[in-house]
């Protein structure tokens, strides 16, 4: 009697586990299906499109399948856009991350008054809309815009700079815009990571005679290493896909000099004669670049 009862109880327990896992699958299925339909299927479809050519409503397979990719290597505008994007990446990301670390370590000081206010001020640009801030920066940096007026009044400039019409200054405007916008975002990451660093370490270092710069270099940064890696990967990802600033701030710059890869893809699809296959091929090149850079960063940064 007891045996059958316990056997019954055992059976029930097994089916309980099964029911548990079934319930788990049941809750995961809708989300998985959605991701497959909305993300993976379009990605795969885009890969197939990148092997096709022709009019948008009448795509045919390319003759050597990788024809679009071959053309990409010879496309001067594409190479220009890649150069531009990599320039932004190499200059903007380090500046932004270094500034974010410095701000975070400054704001980590317990004795600083109005810390909350400073934190909010530095983080607030992050909450602005991309298009809105790009358009405002464009107005600020015009020939008779506020920036020129202020700099001339302060005596920094003797003559107004034509920011948006100069190949180097236009890139500088984009970099300034990006640093302004994203420093706060990364700073918040670092601040929250710094909360886990014990205050006694800093006290000990101060007793040993370390000044604040040494504290930053020897204590804070090594301890923040995993977070720095995460933000570096996210920033690289974001900068490689830069679009809004290129479209709204400089409109591709004076003659394609500040155009980014995503902007060029948009132009290929919508402004010029629509070439879907080529646009899809370029998108995949961006994907590969992002993946490679992320892998490199993980290799270099991750000690695990």
């Amino acid at each position: 009697m007891t045996n059958t009862a316990s056997a019954q109880k055992k059976k029930k327990r097994l089916s309980m586990h099964q029911k548990q896992s079934l319930a788990g699958w049941a809750f995961l299925t809708p989300a998985t299906l959605l991701i497959f339909i909305m993300s993976f299927y379009p990605m795969f479809s885009a890969l197939l499109t990148s092997f096709k050519r022709g009019k948008p409503t009448a795509l045919v397979w390319s003759d050597p399948l990788w024809r679009n990719y071959q053309f990409m290597l010879k496309d001067k505008v594409f190479i220009q856009s890649v150069t531009n994007t990599l320039t932004y990446l190499i200059i903007q990301v380090p500046i932004m991350l270094i500034l974010a670390v410095i701000f975070a370590s400054l704001l980590n000081n317990r004795d600083l008054k109005f810390r909350g206010l400073f934190r909010t001020c530095i983080f607030l640009p992050c909450a602005t809309g991309l298009v809105a801030y790009s358009m405002i920066f464009r107005t600020l940096f015009t020939y008779d815009g506020m920036v020129n007026n202020v700099l001339i009044k302060l005596g920094v400039l003797s003559e107004a700079i034509n920011w948006l019409n100069d190949p180097i200054y236009a890139k500088a405007v984009i970099i300034i815009g990006l640093v302004w916008r994203w420093t706060g975002y990364n700073m918040v990451f670092y601040l929250s990571a710094m909360q886990s660093i014990d205050y006694s370490i800093y006290e000990a270092a101060r007793i040993d005679g370390a000044n604040s710069v040494q504290q930053l270099m020897r204590i804070t940064i090594p301890l923040l290493r995993p977070i720095i890696l995460v933000t570096a990967i996210m920033s690289t990802n974001g900068t490689l896909q830069l679009f809004d600033e290129s479209v709204n701030l400089t409109r591709g710059g004076p003659g394609n000099m500040t155009i980014t890869m995503s902007h060029y893809i948009y132009n290929t699809m919508f402004t010029k004669n629509p070439n879907f296959g080529y646009a899809a091929a370029m998108s995949f090149v961006i994907l590969v670049m992002v993946a490679v850079l992320a892998a490199v960063q993980m290799k270099v940064g991750d000690k695990r």
Partner: protein
């Protein structure tokens, strides 16, 4: 009942943690209701909050089921209604166009005139920017359910869109009477010998100048009529020296002015056979020569945005402008400058063959979308063969007709108050008759962008004209070679 409640609540508390442990605990307790219902309650409670009652009566179960059913039906209904937003032949005409002072106003007047005789036809005019319309057509990928019945297409983009989306743009050959429309204008909407559009406004280029600034330098508007670009640059230098103002302005890299100058001698960026004509285009080189000289000497200032360009007119920074005649509606909106403007024709090129003082920039045509209310739309578009209609829209929008009989209208021959009584509209129609046409083709915007890059390089970085044009031609050939 109370005991069940207590047990259920107790179980609910433990539900948040280990499910298995909870079930074991539950099994050992004696409950009045079925163990099953308590278990279900705990399952529910582990996800939501603790239930007060541990069994649901039939009535409550029915109510819960009803709620779920109604929610599901609502969701379905909303999805389906969203899909059927712009249905097919629905007896209603939807129109997409831009510019409330120009195209939209013209369509509103057409709507009023049409509804006098057909009061039961619904016509919906929606404002949509030109780029947004183009994006919407591309994004539709040939699916006409998301598109309106009639949309406005820039003449420069017409060939590109009809070539790429033949299933979207209805073939109107034989269905609409094209007698009386200017040939040069009609050519933009003819693809492969078939008519796909109904011409709307003429983009005839005009030169408009501030007479007060010219007087300050000792010139009148007549001194700028029928001249060459060489003479224009001379006058420009003088005016700049005496008044400090540049003669013209334009958007940097937008090549509007360069293309106007190019078309004035009948040349284009493409040859008859569709091949690119940039590298060996001697007329283009002469144009670039004049243009670069003007920019360098400050006779022509390049600004960064379209708003800045309009700003040079409203803030009175420049002496004049050379642009399509649609700029007149913007100029005439500047009430404080009434009576200070004069209009004349363009300067012409010197060395180029077939150089004239006339050109055009812009202008658009109406296209009707397939698989929709084609006959109704065609009936409505008969308004664009109505001389009274063109007469009506002229003072309101300054839209110049490309329908030749319209020039007899009273408003065309009347003088314009803003321009000191000059009959500018009749003059513009005359200009239009002498404007050479040009070749666009599907790759017009590719060539335009490449030319813009070349000119930016020439002016900003002092690049060599021949090299830059060769690069531009290579870029366009590359795009065409896909």
């Amino acid at each position: 009942m109370v005991k069940n409640e207590q047990i259920a609540v107790e179980n609910a508390h433990h539900c948040v943690g280990n499910y298995d442990r909870m079930y074991t605990r539950n099994r050992h307790k004696k409950v009045n209701g079925s163990a099953k219902s308590t278990k279900h309650t705990c399952v529910f409670a582990s996800i939501c909050f603790a239930e007060k009652k541990e069994t649901t009566t039939k009535k409550e179960e029915d109510w819960i089921f009803m709620k779920k059913f109604v929610t599901l039906m609502l969701a379905l209904a909303m999805t389906i209604s969203a899909l059927g937003a712009l249905a097919e032949a629905d007896g209603k005409i939807t129109i997409w166009t831009w510019d409330p002072t120009f195209n939209i106003k013209a369509m509103q007047i057409a709507k009023e005139m049409y509804q006098k005789d057909h009061p039961d036809v619904e016509i919906d005019i929606q404002e949509k920017l030109s780029e947004d319309i183009e994006t919407a057509v591309i994004a539709s990928n040939g699916d006409t359910t998301t598109l309106p019945d009639i949309l406005l297409v820039q003449d420069n983009s017409f060939q590109k869109f009809v070539t790429n989306y033949p299933e979207v743009y209805a073939d109107l050959t034989g269905k609409y009477d094209y007698e009386g429309f200017a040939q040069g204008k009609l050519a933009y909407s003819i693809v492969d010998g078939k008519n796909h559009g109904i011409p709307f406004d003429a983009g005839t280029a005009v030169a408009a100048y501030r007479t007060d600034y010219l007087e300050a330098a000792g010139y009148t508007a007549d001194d700028l009529k029928d001249i060459t670009w060489e003479r224009f640059i001379e006058i420009g230098r003088d005016v700049k020296a005496k008044t400090g103002r540049p003669m013209l302005s334009g958007q940097a890299g937008a090549v509007d002015t360069v293309l106007i100058m190019l078309q004035s001698c009948g040349a284009s960026m493409f040859n008859e056979d569709g091949s690119v004509n940039l590298k060996d285009n001697e007329q283009l080189k002469e144009v670039i020569d004049f243009y670069a000289t003007m920019v360098k000497e400050g006779i022509f200032i390049e600004v960064n945005t379209w708003d800045e360009y309009i700003g040079t007119l409203s803030n009175q920074t420049v002496v004049g402008t050379i642009q399509g005649c649609w700029i007149l509606s913007t100029i005439m909106s500047l009430d404080t400058q009434k009576g200070l403007w004069a209009m004349t024709n363009l300067p012409k090129l010197v060395k180029a063959e077939g150089a004239t003082n006339y050109s055009s920039n812009g202008g658009s045509s109406w296209a009707i979308v397939n698989d929709k209310d084609l006959d109704l739309a065609l009936d409505f578009m008969q308004m664009y063969r109505n001389v009274d209609f063109y007469n009506e829209i002229l003072p309101a929008t300054s839209a110049i007709a490309t329908y030749t009989p319209a020039k007899e209208g009273s408003n065309y021959t009347a003088g314009s108050e803003f321009f000191n009584g000059e009959p500018i509209f009749a003059e513009i129609v005359e200009f239009g008759a002498q404007t050479p046409s040009n070749i666009t083709g599907p790759y017009y915007y590719d060539a335009r962008e490449a030319l813009g890059t070349a000119i930016t390089n020439i002016i900003l970085q002092g690049g060599d004209v021949d090299t830059e044009l060769a690069t531009a031609e290579d870029t366009v050939n590359f795009t065409m070679g896909f």
